[in-house]
Symmetry: C2
Subunit: 129 residues, 2 copies
């Protein structure tokens, strides 16, 4: 049997956008997988720690995960209706963040940058409703 962590990773890869631990758990169970919620949490944490998946927090405090195609540093453009996600690079933003930190004497500068919006197909769906 394939390693649990790999199974979780695979489920994530099969998804389009960011998914919560409970989401992943529910999907795996409905696919017939025999796995516990705790293990899903642990696998996602490990994957995130190892940089294999990206994490972000929704407005209501849930952690959501995504297996991004790019292994390099990047950010996300996320549809706030359907979750569809586009990976985007922003060299200017990287430089800006560094500069802002340095300008005020800060070291070990990191940043979080996420862009949200309504994707084209969701806009269309709303208009049609």
């Amino acid at each position: 049997m394939t390693n649990r962590r790999d199974a979780v990773h695979d489920t994530l890869r099969r998804s389009e956008g960011f998914r919560s631990a409970q989401d992943v758990y529910a999907e795996m169970r409905s696919d017939g997988a025999k796995i516990g919620l705790t293990t899903v949490y642990r696998a996602l944490q490990a994957l995130a720690d190892g940089g294999k998946v990206d994490v972000l927090r929704t407005d209501d405090g849930e952690s959501v995960y995504r297996a991004c195609a790019s292994g390099d540093h990047h950010h996300h453009l996320v549809c706030r209706r359907c979750g569809r996600t586009v990976e985007v690079a922003g060299p200017d933003v990287e430089r800006w963040a560094e500069a802002v930190g340095a300008e005020h004497g800060f070291t070990d500068v990191t940043h979080t940058v996420e862009v949200f919006g309504t994707c084209a197909s969701c806009s269309a769906a709303v208009r049609a409703s």
Copy 2:
């Protein structure tokens, strides 16, 4: 007696960095204020909804609030050790976020941008330890 909401707002204004609801509650109580935790939560929510204070989520999922000097759209450079916060503007970042959204057909584009680091005095403190 001053309005509860104003009391909460004042307490926040007296603070340097971002503070959690429980923080604010504890501080007000130790200052002798007669107020309930629920009310502090409600006041902070109302202030945030009205754009009077800024909110962000810590890594461990706590919502933290700050009464910023600037009423205009801005971002934060936060010391991850002492919480000291600098308000920063980033016109380039604003334009970049808009452009990225538009480029992929997204509408109603918003963004979250936060910069973290270790401030000069905390760096000094660490070095001295």
